[in-house]
């Protein structure tokens, strides 16, 4: 027997499909031709997080950090680990346009630029090859990510896109070099202009909640700036000059990057304010000393209108900031997060 699954997206649209009790909701959706955002499909990344408010289900084999026991009451589920035991009504925290209706074929790309931007931070630019259907086009929403793959080295890693959708086939990334990261090692030691990569996606639900009229606060930890750069560039290109605060956190001055890009964006976006937060600055640092969460806390104390909060950065930054803004009276539904490891 199979159960009927109804997935309701943030914009009120519904998709329906059947799911066997032995099948995950994610798999069943994909079998039915819908591709809700999901990366690892192993219960580890949290990209398929949703809320199942009607029906019985079992959650198997997932990272407990993603669904701590206190979230049980909230009925949070990971679609890739949810096995139905009755018909289910599931609410997804993204709009229907984030659900693809076909599996996208990976695109071929070539590295056309790779450079060190700051301490432990690199910029990578890819040129896509022409696709039979889309030409050089590559559709994505600002805030989404792709997975970059080097098949021969068995390397695959997800990175947010830092530029906006375009028809020249250009994709820009900001990459944090992790000590133990295999892709980081590859970029540092082997990658060179002219080398080929595969691009999977786009995926992800992170992005602007465009219809909200609240001011926007973007909190970026390091290269968590990438999706915000994409969003801000799109706002500039689209002429959407909305009150926006950007808090960019780095460990020390040597890690500061994209300063000039942000200044340029402020030329187009008159209501954009940028605060660079240095956690362990030298004595010479004259600007904000502390984490972006600290800077956001200062801002929230002096503002009358509560903003929407967008977070992208290491899990710890996301957790601390979320706790802090909830304490400040911001509703959970006005907080949007993207975590990276």
């Amino acid at each position: 027997m199979s159960y009927s699954i109804t997935l309701v997206t943030l914009d009120g649209n519904k998709i329906q499909f059947n799911c066997e009790p032995s099948q995950t909701v994610q798999d069943a959706a994909e079998n039915a031709g819908f591709f809700p955002p999901a990366i690892c499909k192993m219960g580890s990344c949290g990209s398929c997080l949703a809320v199942c408010d009607t029906g019985d289900y079992e959650l198997k084999n997932y990272s407990e950090g993603l669904l701590p026991s206190e979230t049980e009451e909230s009925k949070a589920v990971l679609l890739c680990r949810t096995y139905p035991q009755s018909d289910l009504m599931i609410h997804a925290p993204y709009n229907s346009d984030r659900i693809q209706n076909h599996q996208k074929t990976p695109r071929d790309a070539t590295i056309i630029e790779i450079k060190v931007l700051a301490e432990r931070t690199m910029s990578l630019v890819l040129q896509l090859s022409e696709d039979e259907e889309q030409g050089l086009g590559f559709d994505f929403e600002a805030g989404q990510f792709v997975e970059l793959e080097r098949e021969d080295l068995n390397l695959k890693r997800a990175y947010s896109i830092a530029n906006t959708a375009n028809w020249e086939g250009r994709l820009e990334f900001l990459i944090r070099l992790q000590d133990q990261g295999k892709f980081s090692q590859f970029l540092k030691d082997q990658a060179a202009v002219g080398q080929a990569l595969k691009v999977h996606g786009p995926s992800g639900t992170f992005g602007l909640q465009g219809q909200s009229l609240n001011p926007r606060c973007f909190i970026a930890g390091g290269t968590g700036l990438a999706p915000f750069l994409s969003i801000l560039r799109r706002m500039a290109e689209w002429g959407e000059d909305h009150p926006t605060q950007l808090f960019l956190g780095v460990n020390n001055e040597a890690e500061i990057f994209c300063h000039q890009e942000l200044k340029d964006l402020q030329q187009s976006l008159s209501k954009l304010e940028v605060t660079i937060c240095v956690w362990k600055p030298s004595d010479k640092w004259e600007w904000f000393r502390g984490t972006p969460a600290d800077a956001l806390g200062v801002y929230l104390k002096q503002t009358d209108v509560l903003p929407d909060i967008y977070l992208c950065g290491p899990p710890r930054l996301v957790e601390i900031t979320t706790e802090m803004v909830l304490e400040q009276g911001i509703n959970a539904e006005n907080i949007y997060c993207e975590r990276f490891g």
Partner: protein
């Protein structure tokens, strides 16, 4: 939110209207409430505008804003909440300017200055939450508990008719045509509505007055279209694609199409029309561009599939936008009053982003076998063969005329129009207009003595042509239009159609069949009045309606 301005509004035993977080059209509650508030703010401009005009002073920019602002609130035009916040604030700036104009001229002329309240003194709040609380002042149902559904419905019909009228007037405006009589009529109606009228007779008269203004507007738009692009001529419009790079343009705005054709000249990009843009192929100046190669797809409600399949960028120029899917959201653009959050809006006819995308995309890979439809039977073409038509009527070769036209939509009941057209007898002529024609326009209806049985008059605003044709026939036969063997089978969807309906009623045309359903804002009591005064009919069984129509007019 509460909205029942279009045909697809939620219908239920507990009352009709969209009142949840999102309307059937895809408009969310915030946007809907802000649209109501914008209309409220625009009433404030009109209150002062009317008084200044009465004293001989006008503000052209304010007149333009009233048209544009009302147009943005039509069904399937603008879904961008941010845009409405901007427009509300802009409306207040303009109102203050017009207020100063009025007070200055009143002082100069020694007149007492009226102190106006309500929308005339509305100050928008700065926060989202407060603004949405204020939106109740502009809510369609405001005062329902006191005045009842009939008065609310009559007010709503007026405001919706005004929206349609303003939209048509804006189309004419962008083509360089305007008329103070129209601005005065719109301001007068808005000023009347700002008093929250409760007299049903006065509201009915107000509705008929809007119909009269809209007739003037459609006449002006007819002049604007023919003045800019020549007189519509019968022509074949290709409806199958040809190999090559492509741009699709939809909506009603022929000026946008003209600009696009100019900017894409000699660039190796083919331009396709969509939806209500189809009649463009009948205008000589537009047709003279060889890269205007055809029409792609059907009526607006199919756009999710058609736009996704179209291998190039898309420009939506006026009403009829529905929520773009991920498949084409990055390559659809809006212009003029249209908007969707996250969809790129193009200003000042700069279509270079479209050209860039069209060049990057591969376009249609092959030629499809050629198929065409005939367009271009506007009033000039039909009246050009008036003698033949009159002779055919006199000889009995033509026994009846049907005007089957208006909007199309997704409702299953709209098959009525296909069935109706198919069942019309061979000795009848079908005049059609609007996107309702997509239900049957590819069929071969044959001809009567060389006159095609299906005559496509054009866009919905070309109802003006239909009225002219009907008047000419009435003159030729020395009778009233109501005495002609002519049946109006009108399909409505949104507020332009409300304006057209009010125009037809204001002309005293009786026996109009209105479908696929009676508007939710026309209450049973108001419908009874319209039936009594105008013999307005709801759709029934197509065959029975057809038989009744033929019998009555015979």
């Amino acid at each position: 939110m509460f909205c029942y301005q279009c045909d697809q509004t939620t219908r239920s035993e507990n009352g009709d209207g969209c009142s949840t977080e999102k309307g059937v059209c895809g408009k969310d509650a915030t946007t809907s409430d802000l649209q109501d508030l914008l209309v409220y703010a625009i009433k404030g401009i009109a209150q002062y505008g009317k008084r200044a005009r009465d004293l001989g002073k006008t503000d052209k920019k304010a007149d333009e804003f009233i048209l544009y602002g009302l147009f943005t609130t039509l069904t399937n035009v603008n879904f961008n909440a941010h845009r409405f916040v901007e427009l509300i604030h802009e409306a207040i700036e303009i109102r203050e300017r017009v207020k100063t104009l009025y007070e200055t001229v009143a002082t100069e002329q020694g007149q007492a200055i009226e102190v106006l309240k309500g929308s005339a003194s509305f100050i928008p709040a700065s926060s989202q939450d407060d603004l949405l609380i204020q939106a109740q002042w502009g809510a369609i149902l405001r005062g329902q508990d006191i005045v009842g559904d009939d008065i609310i419905g009559l007010r709503a019909m007026m405001i919706y008719g005004l929206k349609g009228t303003a939209a048509y007037a804006y189309h004419a405006f962008v083509l360089g045509y305007e008329d103070d009589v129209i601005y005065a009529g719109i301001e007068k109606a808005l000023d009347f509505l700002s008093t929250d009228p409760t007299d049903a007779d006065a509201l009915l008269t107000g509705n008929m007055d809007i119909g009269t203004v809209n007739l003037k507007v459609m006449e002006l738009l007819d002049a604007a279209n023919t003045g800019n692009f020549g007189v519509q001529e019968p022509a074949q419009a290709r409806i199958t694609p040809i190999k090559g790079k492509a741009i699709l343009i939809s909506g009603h705005d022929l000026k946008d199409l003209h600009e696009l054709l100019e900017q894409t000249k000699d660039k190796g990009i083919n331009i396709y029309t969509h939806g209500e843009m189809l009649p463009a192929h009948a205008y000589p100046i537009l047709r003279s561009y060889s890269h205007l190669v055809g029409n792609y797809g059907g009526a607006w409600q199919n756009q999710n599939k058609e736009f996704a399949d179209f291998p190039g960028p898309i420009l939506m120029t006026s009403n009829c936008l529905i929520e773009p899917t991920a498949a084409y959201k990055q390559r659809i653009f809006t212009a003029g009053p249209v908007g969707w959050q996250g969809v790129r809006h193009l200003e000042n006819h700069d279509f270079s982003p479209l050209i860039k995308i069209a060049s990057a995309m591969l376009g249609f890979k092959t030629d499809e076998a050629e198929k065409t439809v005939t367009v271009g039977f506007g009033r000039h073409a039909v009246l050009g063969v008036a003698d033949k038509v009159i002779d055919a009527v006199k000889s009995g070769a033509i026994k009846h005329f049907f005007l089957i036209g208006g909007c199309d939509g997704a409702a299953p009941g709209r098959n009525y129009y296909t069935e109706l057209a198919e069942k019309t007898p061979d000795d009848s002529i079908i005049l059609t207009l609007g996107c309702g024609k997509y239900r049957f326009h590819e069929q071969d209806f044959g001809n009567i003595g060389g006159i095609p049985r299906l005559l496509d008059i054009g866009q919905c605003n070309d109802t003006y042509s239909a009225i002219q044709i009907a008047s000419a026939l009435a003159d030729a036969f020395e009778c009233e239009v109501n005495e002609l063997p002519l049946s109006f089978m009108i399909s409505w969807f949104e507020q332009k159609a409300v304006a057209v309906l009010l125009t037809l009623l204001s002309l005293g045309i009786r026996g109009i069949h209105l479908g696929p359903s009676i508007p939710a804002f026309i209450t049973p009591s108001v419908l009874a009045i319209l039936v009594d005064k105008f013999d307005l009919k709801a759709n029934g069984d197509p065959a029975e309606d057809l038989a009744a129509a033929l019998k009555k007019a015979a």
